[in-house]
């Protein structure tokens, strides 16, 4: 065997060996950083839900309105977190129920010692009015300053306090 061939093979082998290591690390990479991101209420699904909801729930005169989802003149379109670790997070209100709590399948996952795992939920009633309901939490849910005991309609801009987190509905 010529010297050149052996040198090429020698370096080639090292390259292949390292290539294997690199490929293996690439496979690991997906495990280290590869968390699966599932989007809540992706556009198509939300749209479908909404149309169904509109067809089912909306009174006839509201059905003529654009499917964009404004049920009334003062209907809120988004939920904004104004205090707490998630400050700045917004969730579009598209007729879906929003759950809040420490449970990792909640819509808004609260990292808060004062929150229960399934703390509260916010949902539209049949008139499109958004309602907040406490789900038997330990420390309670406050709307304005009063602790909730029954499902209560939410006024625009009224602060809902859960532990250290404050959220409100906005247009």
């Amino acid at each position: 065997m010529s010297e050149l061939t052996l040198t090429v093979m020698r370096l080639g082998f090292l390259a292949v060996l390292w290539l294997f290591v690199i490929v293996a690390v690439q496979v690991i990479r997906s495990d280290l950083f590869g968390t699966r991101v599932t989007q809540r209420g992706s556009r198509r699904e939300a749209g479908r839900q909404q149309q169904a909801a509109a067809a089912r729930q909306a009174p006839p005169q509201q059905r003529q309105q654009p499917a964009g989802g404004r049920r009334g003149r003062n209907a809120p379109t988004k939920l904004v977190v104004t205090e707490g670790t998630l400050t700045g997070t917004t969730v579009a209100l598209q007729g879906q129920t929003i759950t809040l709590g420490r449970a990792h399948d909640s819509t808004i996952v609260l990292d808060d010692d004062y929150a229960s795992s399934r703390h509260a939920r916010i949902y539209p009633d049949r008139d499109g009015q958004w309602i907040v309901e406490d789900l038997g939490s330990t420390n309670g849910t406050y709307l304005d300053r009063s602790r909730l005991t029954t499902p209560t309609p939410i006024a625009l801009g009224a602060p809902i306090r859960i532990g250290k987190t404050v959220i409100e509905l906005r247009k």
Partner: protein
């Protein structure tokens, strides 16, 4: 739908981040396995071309043999552990294949053929690999759930002690060059310590799972360390005594270090108390120094470690009880340099005895150089990383502890052997997992990989689908 466009983008903030679960990644494993078989075949051809100027005649059968074993392993994993880690099997296969090539390459050396039964080591190693793969398959098939091992906690302890003490039984134990860690059964010599490693990990995991709260919580804080209560020191003292006894009677530093180290690692993981590490290091230092001061075999190993050149000259002067291996190994690393001499073109056979077992790393160091050796150590590190990752992902404490114990033992063994050959710590009689010639080691380590894969299958298996959000779904249906 145009109205939703503006309000849609903020939705991204509320996406759920979940652990990766669903993909089983068996195809990734298959691709990597093919790669892992091709690399040793390449190396095999390279050795033949370098030594005999021709592609070795056994290339096809060797490649097919390794490929067949890997294929069987893959199919069994696909059938019985579909969510297992995709990397461990290819990594172990690659290391095993490279070990076979290096053993075959040393078989070709006339020097080695003249001093021992070499020349036939590679086919036998392939047979041991097949046995190891058979045990791997058996573990995969019969161990449906690693938690069943928990039932055998105290039986494992008895079994491990039995295996550890076996080499001391007169007539059965065999003293090979000073270390009594082998037993002779028929024409086979077996190293029971390799198997004891796994059994002991099962015992430690089962024991610590029950006792960890007592060990972790009942402690006083002193100088930033949590000092355990006196009576909680019992277990660590017992394990320490046993490992000292191994050191004294079997005169093997590696086995002793492996068991004690494994216990300290598992104790640390179970209790999260740094003080155990401090205690462990102090106790092993005291034990090693104490024993080395009166046990001549250990003493000689330490001397050879402190001054390998003196050891070499003494051995050349035909002084009995000295060995030139340690220095030879260092020279072979040195002559390998950064990129190595290339397969088959080094002279690591000059190490003579144990060139293909304890000192096989020197062959890699010489022929593949620093670059190749680092790649090998990366492969070991990746196996250990996957083991630790499995421990992190495991949902039950027993599985967590067992995975960390097994991968910790694996890592310690690599450290003890590589450190010994490279002159970082005194030499011991352990073998490099998968690379070195030796049936017990290959078989036991395949079983170890099998158990780790079983735990990782349980850990990565997606949880049975719970109703995603009962409130949201149910109430909407109920509403009129």
């Amino acid at each position: 739908m145009s109205g939703t466009n503006t309000s849609h983008s903020p939705t991204n903030h509320t996406s759920t981040i979940g652990a990766i679960g669903a993909p089983s990644r068996r195809n990734t494993e298959l691709a990597l396995l093919v790669f892992a078989v091709v690399i040793p075949v390449f190396a095999y051809a390279n050795v033949g071309l370098a030594l005999h100027d021709s592609v070795p005649p056994g290339l096809l059968s060797y490649g097919l043999g390794l490929g067949l074993l890997a294929g069987v392993g893959h199919l069994v994993v696909r059938k019985f552990a579909p969510y297992a880690d995709p990397l461990m099997l290819p990594l172990a296969t690659l290391l095993n294949g490279l070990g076979l090539v290096a053993i075959w390459r040393l078989d070709q050396s006339e020097l080695l053929q003249s001093i021992q039964q070499a020349g036939t080591a590679a086919p036998r190693q392939l047979l041991y690999t097949a046995l190891g793969m058979a045990l791997f398959v058996a573990v995969m098939i019969f161990l449906k759930d690693h938690r069943t091992l928990q039932r055998y906690t105290y039986i494992s302890m008895a079994g491990a002690l039995f295996l550890l003490l076996l080499p001391l039984v007169p007539g059965l134990g065999k003293n090979i060059y000073g270390a009594k860690i082998w037993i002779q059964v028929g024409s086979f010599s077996i190293q029971p310590g390799e198997f004891a490693k796994i059994v002991l990990a099962i015992f430690f995991a089962g024991y610590l799972m029950v006792k960890r709260d007592a060990l972790a919580l009942a402690s006083r804080r002193f100088m930033g360390l949590y000092l355990p209560r006196g009576r909680d020191l019992g277990p660590i003292l017992v394990v320490w005594m046993v490992s000292i006894l191994i050191l004294v009677f079997e005169t093997d530093l590696g086995t002793s270090l492996l068991f004690f180290g494994m216990f300290v690692i598992m104790l640390y993981v179970a209790t999260e108390r740094t003080s155990w590490i401090v205690f462990g290091l102090m106790m092993s230092a005291v034990g090693a120094v104490g024993v080395a001061s009166f046990e001549p075999h250990i003493q000689q190993r330490v001397d050879a470690w402190l001054d390998p050149m003196r050891e070499f000259t003494l051995s050349r002067a035909n002084q009995p009880g000295h060995s030139e291996q340690a220095m030879q190994a260092l020279w072979s690393f040195g002559s390998g340099g950064t990129l190595g001499t290339g397969w088959g073109q080094g002279h690591s056979e000059l190490i003579r005895f144990a060139a293909n077992s304890d000192f096989i790393l020197a062959t890699f160091g010489e022929e593949l150089g620093l670059a190749g050796l680092m790649a090998l150590l990366m492969l070991y590190a990746l196996i250990v990383e996957r083991g630790v990752r499995t421990a992190l992902a495991a949902r039950d404490p027993f599985g967590k502890l067992l995975a960390i114990g097994l991968s910790g033992a694996f890592a310690l063994q690599v450290f003890v052997v590589a450190g010994g050959v490279m002159g970082l710590i005194p030499l011991t009689g352990m073998t490099m997992p998968f690379l070195a010639y030796g049936g017990s080691s290959v078989i036991a380590n395949w079983a170890l990989i099998g158990i780790l894969l079983r735990i990782s299958d349980t850990a990565r298996r997606p949880a049975p689908a719970a109703p995603a959000n009962p409130d949201a779904e149910m109430t909407q249906v109920v509403r009129p």
